[in-house]
Symmetry: C2
Subunit: 142 residues, 2 copies
Amino acid sequence: MKLSTRGRYGIHAMFDLAQHGGEGPQPIKAIADRQDVPEAYLEQLIAVLRKAGLVTSVRGAQGGYQLARPAGEITVGQVLRTLEGDLALTDCLLEEDACHRACKCPSRVVWQKLYDGINQIVDGITLKDMLEDQERLLAQGE
Amino acid sequence: MKLSTRGRYGIHAMFDLAQHGGEGPQPIKAIADRQDVPEAYLEQLIAVLRKAGLVTSVRGAQGGYQLARPAGEITVGQVLRTLEGDLALTDCLLEEDACHRACKCPSRVVWQKLYDGINQIVDGITLKDMLEDQERLLAQGE
DNA sequence: GGGCAAACCGACCAAAATAGTCAACATTGA
DNA sequence: TCAATGTTGACTATTTTGGTCGGTTTGCCC
């Protein structure tokens, strides 16, 4: 029950873009170096984020990527769902009749509670919130 | 980011034992049949639950398994953590310095919030709660 | 006290998901 | 034009998952 690297790297990359907000398009290589993610792999992930409309790209020399919207309007939930798929911990919640038992089992109630809780948390955190966390952490560290 | 079958089967099995509380030890085969889980595999899982002290076994003919404590004192969280390991979505929260960045990154804050949220949910649900959910579901179905 | 039903144990295995790599091509700014 | 960058898709090694199988031990019941 671990988050895959896709989700983790994705959040790191998006946070990186938020940090370098006003500085023009950021090339993959720059993001990859700063966040310590394999460049070729990050490329894959960012392509998905672009198709989902979370980042925009600028092609050609001096090109790169930028957030498609202000950091305060992009949530962790949007990023994670884009890269990890629906955050349901079990298929029972998604597929039509994944459990042939007609899904009246009380286990389903448990999975549903988890699903709701997780989504509520990740949708409640924006990239801007993370920037503010960062400020706090830095201030604390001194 | 899915729960593995270990956790799901485990919850099903434990719920099954809760349902057959006063009826003496339940053999693996009976549980496996009722819950539609491969018998040989369930054996593995239940061995772990036994070692964790969540169920007790009776050996020999007419033997089987029982809950080690009343259903109201066993939480979904205990079962899931036993079979799935710690419910941290990322190693960053567990290992000493898993991220060489000294873990001051705001991503960690996100993972921590998820970790706390998930644990709070699963530790708040006992097998007894599930039995009651079952009652409600059955009553509703009619 | 012997047979049988069950728990118990450990090795083994196949398929799927994960985490990447790599090569080739497209686009565009300088 | 050329160099930097984005874009795409195919390929691969490793790990995790989801089991199976064979055998041993235990103890109730007849």
